[in-house]
Symmetry: C2
Subunit: 200 residues, 2 copies
Amino acid sequence: MARTKDHGGRGAGTPKRADAERNIAAIINAATECFARDPDASMTTIAKAAGLGRVTLYAHFPSREQLLRTVLAETIAESAGIIEAAAPDAGPPAEVFAQLIRSCWPLLSRFGSLHAAVQRALPADEVRRRHDQPLAHVERLVARGQAEGAFRTDLPVEWLVTTVYTLLHAAADEVAAGRLAAESVGEILEKTLLATLRPE
Amino acid sequence: MARTKDHGGRGAGTPKRADAERNIAAIINAATECFARDPDASMTTIAKAAGLGRVTLYAHFPSREQLLRTVLAETIAESAGIIEAAAPDAGPPAEVFAQLIRSCWPLLSRFGSLHAAVQRALPADEVRRRHDQPLAHVERLVARGQAEGAFRTDLPVEWLVTTVYTLLHAAADEVAAGRLAAESVGEILEKTLLATLRPE
């Protein structure tokens, strides 16, 4: 992450260092909000939203792509923590899964069109790889559900995880595009995904 | 479509006109194959594959984006014809739907990473809108299945169509990325999508 770039020889805690930390945090927050509203948000818009000049923005993030990578890493790390807490290694798999979806949805909804921005700027394979950590929790839960007979076993676990990943983000895109109402999407996702997991 | 750009004042059938038609067809064929193999295929690679110079390529398609739009329009038009033939307005909806998936899959498989190339170069909303024609057949079939009690009615038809659209392309991406075996994906898709449509 770009944030670690500044942890160099200078001692932490100097005023210059504190300024840089504050600016980076402001940029990441502003960028997250800007991309959530508009997948084509420009560096100029983001600098303005962060209350900083373009020169300061580019000093920390030399490219829009690099800034998007950092925003994505931050939002995925946040999601991974919430998903981990919502997917314990015990309890009826279908109920745990429903709880997991209810926990993810507010995050995806808050990140709005960020996923669309990321998809346009970064290769799909890289985007998927960056989701490996949160998806590992989903994979463990699906595998447990299969082992306990709660989920279908005639489809590969990797494909079921792809289904979850794909439909969660598709729903976020539909809401961002105004084709699905945000208040109904949690229930719609829960029903759709449980249907794909249920044994025949 | 760019192809219509040449239908200008000159009489059809002149040698110059026939040359242009032949070159455009060669470019579209070569581009379809190149994008199917490599979502980052360059204009230089495509010109070489078409057996033409870059100048001729750019004379017909001033940008890579414009060429991708034309290739997408051609492949969607081809798919729409096949989908329409596979989705008649009669017959048991679940069986017709399964037949529809079996008809789509070879196409998606042949177009390989074209969808990934399109997703990176064009806005997601535009890509989805360009699929309106083939998806209209899917929508009619899903609505009929709901009306006849064969498909679930507690999820909106638009969302069920999005599920079909999203998972078909996700499966194509998974095969292109080597994460799913091409020979198993038809059955996997059929099972997954029928599960999302089946009444609870």
